[in-house]
Amino acid sequence: MRRALLRLVFAVALPALLVTVWWVASAGSTDVYWPPLRTIVEAFPDVWTAERLRGDVLPSALRLAGGYALAAVVGVALGTAIGSYRRVRAVCEPVLEFLRAVPPPVLVPVIMLFAGIGDTMKVTVIAAGCVWPVLLNTVEGVRAVDPVMAETARSYGITGAARLRNLVLRSASPQIFAGLRQALSIGIILMVISEMFAASNGLGFTIVQFQRGFAIPDMWTGILVLGLLGFLLSVVFQWVERRVLGWYHGLRASARRSP
C-alpha cells in the first residue's frame, strides 16, 4: 500500500514538475507560436469536444488500429516463414533491407495509385511502416528457438501446427512483442503523416489545419492529445504484454536471481 503510493508519487513527480515549469516559463509569453500554457489549457475543452473526439480522434484511431493489425498479422506470418527456413532467409534478406529503407511517406503517391486516397491508403501507409519491426523481430525470434526445446518437441511427436502454436510462436513471443512495441510508435507517426497528404478528418489532419489556420493554442492542444494518445496506447500495450509475457518476465527475474 505505502509502496504503491510511493510509486505513484514517483511517477507523477516529474510530469508535475515539467508542467509547472512550462506554466511559469510561458506565463507572460506574447510569441504567437509559444502561447502561455494557461491559454492552451483553457482552449482544450473547447477544442476537444465529444463531437471532435468522435469525428477526428476516432477515425485516426481506427486507421491506426487497422494498419497496426494488418502489419502485425503480415509481419508475424511472413517472419515465421522466413525465420523457419535458412534458405528463404538467405534469399529474402537483401530485398527486405532494401524495401525497409524506403520511407512509407515517399511511397504515398505510389500507394495512392493502388489504394486510392481514402482510408485504405492511410491504413496501407501505416501498415507499410509498422510491418518492418514486427517482421524482423519475428524472424530473429523464430530463428532463436532453443534447439533443445525443438528436439524435445520432435521427440514427443509435436510437429506441424501444434509445434507452431506451442513452441515456435510462444518461444518467439518476447521478440514479437518487442517488434510490436516499436511498431506502435512508428504507427502513431505514420498515422499523423498519412493524414497530412489527403484527408478530411483525423487527428493529424486537425493539427495541421490548426497550424495552417494560425490557431496556435489549438495546435498545442492537438500535440498534447497526440502525446496522451501515445501514452495511453503504451499503457494498454504494457498491460497486454504483461499478461501474455508473464512467464517471460518471471523467467528473466528468476534467471537473474539464481544461477
Partner: protein, 259 residues
C-alpha cells in the same frame, strides 16, 4: 527390446568431418536399466539421439522391438541434460507434462489422470500450476522425468539428466529413477559421465572408448537390487566396480586397447 547394430555416425559440414561414433553394437533387454559411461565428447549424446530417432545414423541400424527406428518412435521418451531448456517456460508444469499426451490424442480426462499420476510419482503433485522457472533445478528435472513417465514409454532414454543439479538433489533423483524403474518395469538407457552414478544406478554398465567410439567393455553390476546412498556407496564391491570402470575410462582416454 533395443538393438543397436554397427551404428556409425559422421557429422559433415563446413568442410569438417567428425566421426563421432564408429561402430557400436549392443543390446538392451526389456525392463533392463543400462548405464552408458564414456569420456566427455566421445559421442554419447550422438548415440542416444540416433537411438531416439532424432538423428539418422550414417551406417548401421537401431531396432526397437524388432522394428527399425527412422524417426522418434511413439514408445520412446527422452530426458535431456538441460532441464532448463527442455521444459517450455511459457507453460505451467501440468501443461508441460500434458502436451505430448494431447498430441497423442488422449481424452481430457485420461490426460488429467496421467499427469497427476506422473507428477505424484516424482513427488511434485502440488506443482501442477507452477511455472518451471519457479522450481529449483532438481524439481525441474523431476518434471521432465514426469513428462516422460506420463507419455507411458516402453523405453526411456536419459542423457546425463543430473549433470547440472547439485550433489544432494542428484542423490535424491538417482534414488527416484531406480524406484520408478523397479516400480514400472520400464527399459532405461542412462548416459552419464559420472562413474559413481553409473555403478550406483545401473544393472549393467557399458563403457565407451574415446572418439571414434566403440564399446570398450560391458560390465554387470552385481550389487543388490535394493540400494541406498549411504550404504551402497561405501560397500567394498561398489569401490571395486568403481575403480574398475575408472581405470577403463582412463585407459579409454589414453586410447589403450582393452585387455
Amino acid at each position: 527390446m533395443l538393438d543397436v547394430r554397427g551404428l556409425k555416425k559422421v557429422y559433415e559440414g563446413s568442410g569438417r568431418r567428425v566421426e563421432a561414433v564408429r561402430d557400436l553394437t549392443f543390446a538392451v533387454g526389456a525392463g533392463e536399466l543400462v548405464c552408458l559411461v564414456g569420456p566427455s565428447g566421445c559421442g554419447k549424446t550422438t548415440l542416444l539421439k540416433c537411438v531416439g530417432g532424432l538423428l539418422a545414423p550414417t551406417g548401421g541400424e537401431v531396432l526397437l522391438e524388432g522394428r527399425k527406428v527412422s524417426g522418434p518412435p511413439p514408445g520412446m521418451a527422452f530426458v535431456f541434460q538441460e532441464y532448463g531448456r527442455s521444459l517450455f517456460p511459457w507453460m505451467r508444469v501440468g501443461e508441460n507434462v500434458g502436451l505430448p499426451l494431447r498430441q497423442k490424442g488422449l481424452s481430457r480426462a485420461r490426460r488429467g489422470e496421467l499427469v497427476r499420476d506422473a507428477l505424484g510419482s516424482v513427488g511434485l503433485a502440488d506443482a501442477v500450476r507452477a511455472y518451471p522457472w519457479q522450481l529449483s533445478g532438481g524439481m525441474q528435472q523431476r518434471v521432465a522425468i514426469a513428462r516422460a513417465l506420463a507419455y507411458e514409454p516402453r523405453v526411456l532414454l536419459m542423457d546425463e539428466p543430473f549433470a547440472a543439479v547439485d550433489a544432494q538433489t542428484r542423490a535424491d533423483l538417482e534414488d527416484l529413477v531406480r524406484g520408478l524403474w523397479r516400480e514400472r518395469g520400464i527399459t532405461i538407457l542412462f548416459v552419464t559421465h559420472d562413474i559413481d552414478e553409473a555403478v550406483y544406478l545401473g544393472e549393467r554398465v557399458i563403457v565407451l572408448s574415446a572418439s571414434p567410439t566403440v564399446v570398450r567393455e560391458q560390465l554387470k553390476v552385481d550389487l543388490p537390487v535394493e540400494r541406498d546412498q549411504l550404504h551402497t556407496r561405501v560397500d567394498p564391491r561398489f569401490a571395486e566396480l568403481r575403480t574398475h570402470v575408472y581405470e577403463q575410462i582412463q585407459a579409454a582416454k589414453k586410447g589403450v586397447v582393452a585387455s
